[in-house]
Symmetry: C2
Subunit: 185 residues, 2 copies
Amino acid sequence: MTARRSDTTRAAILAAARERFATDGFERATIRAIAADASIDPAMVMRYYGNKEALFAAAADFDLRLPDLTGVPTGEIGTRLARHFLHRWDTDEALVALLRAAVTKEGAAERMRIIFATQLGALVARHAPAPEEAPVRAGLVATQMLGFALCRYALRLPPVVGLSPDEAVAWLAPTIQRYLTGTPD
Amino acid sequence: MTARRSDTTRAAILAAARERFATDGFERATIRAIAADASIDPAMVMRYYGNKEALFAAAADFDLRLPDLTGVPTGEIGTRLARHFLHRWDTDEALVALLRAAVTKEGAAERMRIIFATQLGALVARHAPAPEEAPVRAGLVATQMLGFALCRYALRLPPVVGLSPDEAVAWLAPTIQRYLTGTPD
DNA sequence: ACCATATGCCAACAAGCGTTGACCTGAGAC
DNA sequence: GTCTCAGGTCAACGCTTGTTGGCATATGGT
């Protein structure tokens, strides 16, 4: 497959879509606005992506890219995971886009569920004391990490926005660690 | 002010609005659908609440109703707060409604910020080791509690939905406790 | 009985949305 | 040079939305 002339246009549309979906959510982000951002006609968006739903699917397609933590000392996993999440969230708009959409769109929520169940679930299963606890532990990790993302990137609670990455990791890591390998009180 | 005949209609509209906003979010919940749920004409909604924005404000008007925890042993506050949040969230649709809206509407996000900064901030200030740390500690508590609510009521992650209230409190309480009175690691 | 008024319904408006099809335009193949 | 077709523009469609004003009806005070 050789590069076509239209590839730059496709990329521009996708970049604009990611930005709009991330800041406005699915329903408030309009095809017309995305097209304007990409300096293109709205009809082009339809031609290249079919419809708004499919465009969103393309824009919010991502991977948690969880690192391989085999060999890492058990006690460090919380820190490593917290740091990874923070960095990942800071550098990929698609995550915020999916988060914003997942709150009101069942289809997006389903994608979120699958991503966290499979990707995070698999990692947790490798480190949880008992394998059958893995789903619950992964779910708990999700509550803390998604909650942090929600407050920092979507709601923008000032004290949470003000935390430096290192401070954030220092606070979150023990929580993650306990959800992964600890016990309820 | 004596009771008017229209009060039952007003209440029916408000109840329908809360439900729609809670399940659909602000933009997907339509005046027409709310009116249909309340078995009245859409024009009535406008007459009684002015516009959609004001209707939402009335439907999402609520209070965290945080308990007075003075005198409670310091070590128990985490448990008490976790239990209170869980119960509160389970019994008031307005909380989910505001959460869903806050993710995509700046006005709703602002309300969320104010509620958590003032109501939760005040409680935290009374128990935090140093008063100047209160905002950050309140913010951290918010990340965990809102994250839990997000995963349980909005995203409906199965393992999180499956937790019994007691299990949930047992897992969350130590986290809340550490954010309130503990130290980062 | 009568009237003022609160309550409610109906029809319509303007605006914005996703989406479509017809029509240009310019580059590359022959 | 001409033909072809992908790349791009334009105007319009059908639909839904929030919102409005006019009109019917029921209520309750006198």
